[in-house]
Homo-oligomer: 303 residues x 2
Amino acid sequence: MMVASTAESRQDFYPTRYVAESVARPRMHKTVWGDPGSGPLGADQLEAYDRDGFLAFDCLFSPEEMGQFREELQRLTVEENLRGSDRLAPEPDSDGLRSIFEVHVLSDVFADLVRSDRLTAIARQILGSDVYVHQSRVNYKSAFSGSKWGWHSDFETWHAEDGMPAPHALSFTIALTENYPFNGPLMIIPGSHLSFISTVGETPPDYHKISLLGKSLPAGPVDRAHVTALAKRRGIRQFTGAPGSAVVFDCNCLHASSENITPFARSNFFIVYNSMENVIGDPYAAPGPRPQYLANRDFTPLR
Amino acid sequence: MMVASTAESRQDFYPTRYVAESVARPRMHKTVWGDPGSGPLGADQLEAYDRDGFLAFDCLFSPEEMGQFREELQRLTVEENLRGSDRLAPEPDSDGLRSIFEVHVLSDVFADLVRSDRLTAIARQILGSDVYVHQSRVNYKSAFSGSKWGWHSDFETWHAEDGMPAPHALSFTIALTENYPFNGPLMIIPGSHLSFISTVGETPPDYHKISLLGKSLPAGPVDRAHVTALAKRRGIRQFTGAPGSAVVFDCNCLHASSENITPFARSNFFIVYNSMENVIGDPYAAPGPRPQYLANRDFTPLR
């Protein structure tokens, strides 16, 4: 087995990209690092998260609170200073906006949101440590033209391209608009976080400029046979809900979401908390690090 | 107002394509033509169909019966005689199969199905007359790569391109595989059958060679503002169910279905019954008729 050129001295528990074939390996680290007494989640909830890789909340924020964030987003999309910024990713096949990255840096309103106890207390409990923000973004998925996100594990990308050592991180996705079954909501394969599926293909320079636009991918997407095997075992869970509903999920869950051809936009806020014991280093399998707005290297713990 | 060049002597109640702008006009014909005593549907069901434009059945055929049709399809896809046939439409972005047309002509098994009392008795009751088959097909929507069908009214196409005078026809769609909320099932906007929405743009010669492949369309797709207005009023109904579940819907319903990026194929059998009082003539807004396998001109009533 080869090792990544940039990380020769480290042990790589999750080899990917520079491998000869796509294989599913057992997860080498825990999923739940804290215990029931250390945060708002009960033993049943931690057990479900450990087994499935996610927990869904019908109403983590109120629809009224979400109205405030939709307004702030509206402001950001017309903000003069952001025109032409790399933080704004367009849709591949329309002139719409696909994502805005680092919204917690661009906006005081979102800066407060990522520090909300309702999120950080859960993140600290599951990860059993202090946490910092690895990435934040809004995914728009516009009415009629919002494009898909194919099946992938975020951790596979963050490990290969950002140098994240272990799956000791998690994401929250929070509905800004109603997530219907038909407007491209998040899908997760339950239990998929327990397998690490390597992908084949060297990571090209500046790969994020392609991969985040939903174009066809030379590296990163998961072999269909693995997706099929995992989905046949435990099915697919699709998450729907009103604005303010949320899902917290392990960074190694296989997930995807379909295009949106309906008149109802499906916009979600997405934030990644990483453990302070898992700060990122050199990429494990990429020619260089990704930009700050995709992989934050300011490891200040949230208080 | 101009009239279609091929149909100058007929009254056109549903002008489209050769119009200057996309407008929504009230439906000029009935939706339910028969009465509760004349078939298997009760007064409540006919009333719901009249209001919504559709009726859903959890189990019109058994999953076992559907297994037989899936086997027959499997046979058709490898049938040597069909290689290169126009009746087989490929997916736009993969080497998969999107549709097979005229399956009731290609196969004795499907020929029996279109004559099944469970379908024809309902069709005769709703249409209040004898019926014949205007079109039949299987839509595959393969695992991982099945593409979308954008928002449209079938009647708009059949009127413009096939010369169908009135919305006096209906379709059944029958699940051959499980239709989940996430593998691209049928969506209908309830009540949309009560508005006829004209589309703008001359129909090019051999337009079906483009439009049925899911490519971008120079004519035929419905203006987004109308889709939005109708969906905001009554929402979107998505149809899920086991093999053998079915939906019967009016030919003027606005409907669509999303791509399928899951490992579970979503294959449905689709059959159109037209009233014997509504047989097709010259196209209302197209340079010439579509081929027989898309628009049957053998008006033999089913017995």
